[in-house]
Symmetry: C2
Subunit: 325 residues, 2 copies
């Protein structure tokens, strides 16, 4: 009687070990499949991530965020082109707002990425920001870890900077670039959107338009007010670009490398990774605890107490205590 | 030797029992204080919420969301004025993006609410959407529960609809109103922003501007594509308003009442509350489990294994397993 060699392997599926091996080889279909399993929170996803883990921690992670229409995709494409010229492979994780209407992400300007469609050195993944509440940060990290394990040298996260998404990205990235445009109105808007405190580098894109110098000046002013937090001595520079024509992109690339060197020299790269790993362990512990706790028995207990809960005879706080005791 | 009468009471603080009693009496300072304790996740917050719980579940909860500049505050003020004319008391929970720069929420158009400053029948609370990752939904609900326990008849949640915030609001509200403006571009934008699926009622505000009829038509078209989900037979109507002049607000109010009747008749009001309560219990259970788990001993264990984690000798997945075992 043949016994299954691999934990988590199901009948008729590619064995997990094979899949993991193929991801490590950088095989495109395997990468895409592993990502889908992670995104759908398939039971085997944990096993896959566990096996890929020893190969992660090598890629440099860049986050690009900003308001809609700031030219983030164009900038991502320009940076990608340059990384490719340097012989580096690139993974792009684009987080888009989703609508259950269409059943998928509304892919904004991804079309601009078409130039990389035939380049095996670039892998682009669009992710939905909706659906699984609070799970985005985790899935984004895992998708990036897959790209990392697959040998990509650089990973670029791209997301619209309104809400929670860009905070998740800032946590996942080593260098976070906040892209604004002269039309962003003023720096107050950026502050309101909560983008000031996550930026390692500011880019004022479409800088050939009126108001670029004004917004740059305002940003400088606001940065003087910024308390020096995690940055530990890093003052976010402000770059003017016209991404559509490639203007200012080389300088930006140099700045990204300078930030990397800064993080590296000061041990901050490891500190950031360490923080991410601790979060990850805590998150996985919580998940395990929840799994172990919600047995059929406890779910029935909750069900039985529901009428009391609805009739205000017991509070959710007291009921939780009762269940945990 | 005097013994403490109340659990959770600290020296020099108002006893919790008093505070809870004063909240129930609708005392403004007590309400504000209870909210601050909840927002700061003070240890006594749980006790307060537990004691207030029996008084909740009576207020009607309305969510108002939409893009920045859609006139949500003006609409909220107009609705509030009408509820007050009907003799109803109103609690307003305004969720704003925050910046650690200023240390607080950037209060957009709250100034318009100044008319209610001297009305004891209206309580306005601004909340920050940032800082405690993922905790917004919970704090928003608890602030609303405090207003509910304080006897407010109607609670209005107001938030910018980009990101996760409006999903949290939609879960917290009985009736969710999505406000758009002709300048929103087209309905595709609304779809992209993920607002379509949470709306019980659509409002096209600033409808005296060009394009109002077009966006209404587009919304109608998109709504025909909307799969009938939780709504169970409710087709979101589309109202045109000019909130600044109060035009269309009476009709909107009637529609809110019609939606309430619809939910009531079909048992959906209770179903929504039931769902919220189950979430709440699950959330509190998770919190308890985490508290119980992360003893000093386990935190030290994690600390000790960190070097192995960083050197890829163990994955966060395996380490979590190790800790839970």
């Amino acid at each position: 009687m043949p016994k299954p060699k691999e934990k988590g392997v199901r009948k008729g599926m590619t064995p997990i070990a094979d899949l993991v091996e193929n991801v490590k080889q950088g095989q495109i279909q395997a990468i895409a499949r592993a990502m889908s399993l992670v995104e759908n929170e398939a039971p085997v996803a944990r096993d896959i991530m566990d096996r890929l883990y020893t190969r992660t921690g090598r890629a440099y992670r860049i986050g690009i965020t900003g308001p809609p229409g700031a030219g983030k995709s164009t900038l991502t494409a320009q940076l990608t082109r340059r990384f490719r010229q340097q012989g580096k492979t690139v993974g792009i994780v684009a987080v888009d707002p989703t609508s259950p209407f269409t059943g998928g992400a509304v892919l904004g300007d991804r079309i601009r990425m078409a130039e990389f469609a035939t380049d095996p050195g670039v892998f682009i993944r669009s992710m939905a920001s909706r659906g699984s509440m609070g799970g985005l940060a985790r899935r984004t990290q895992e998708v990036a870890d897959i790209l990392d394990a697959a040998g990509k040298d650089v990973i670029i996260f791209e997301t619209v900077g309104v809400g929670q998404t860009e905070l998740d990205i800032a946590e996942a990235a080593d260098t976070t670039i906040v892209v604004l445009v002269p039309e962003s109105g003023d720096a107050i808007q950026a502050m309101k959107a909560g983008l000031m405190e996550i930026a390692d580098i500011f880019v004022v894109n479409k800088a050939d338009r009126e108001g670029a110098d004004r917004i740059k000046m305002e940003l400088e002013l606001m940065l003087q007010l910024r308390p020096d937090g995690e940055g530990k001595g890093w003052k976010p520079p402000i770059y003017l670009t016209v991404a559509s024509r490639g203007e200012g992109v080389d300088a930006l690339l140099t700045e990204i490398e300078r930030h990397y060197q800064f993080l590296h020299k000061n041990g901050l790269l490891e500190a950031r990774r360490r923080k991410r790993l601790i979060h990850k362990v805590q998150e996985m512990v919580t998940e395990r605890l929840k799994e172990k706790f919600w047995t059929r028995d406890r779910r029935q207990k909750l069900e039985k107490r529901l009428p009391d809960l609805i009739e205000n005879k017991i509070s959710p706080y007291a009921l939780a205590d009762e269940l945990v005791e």
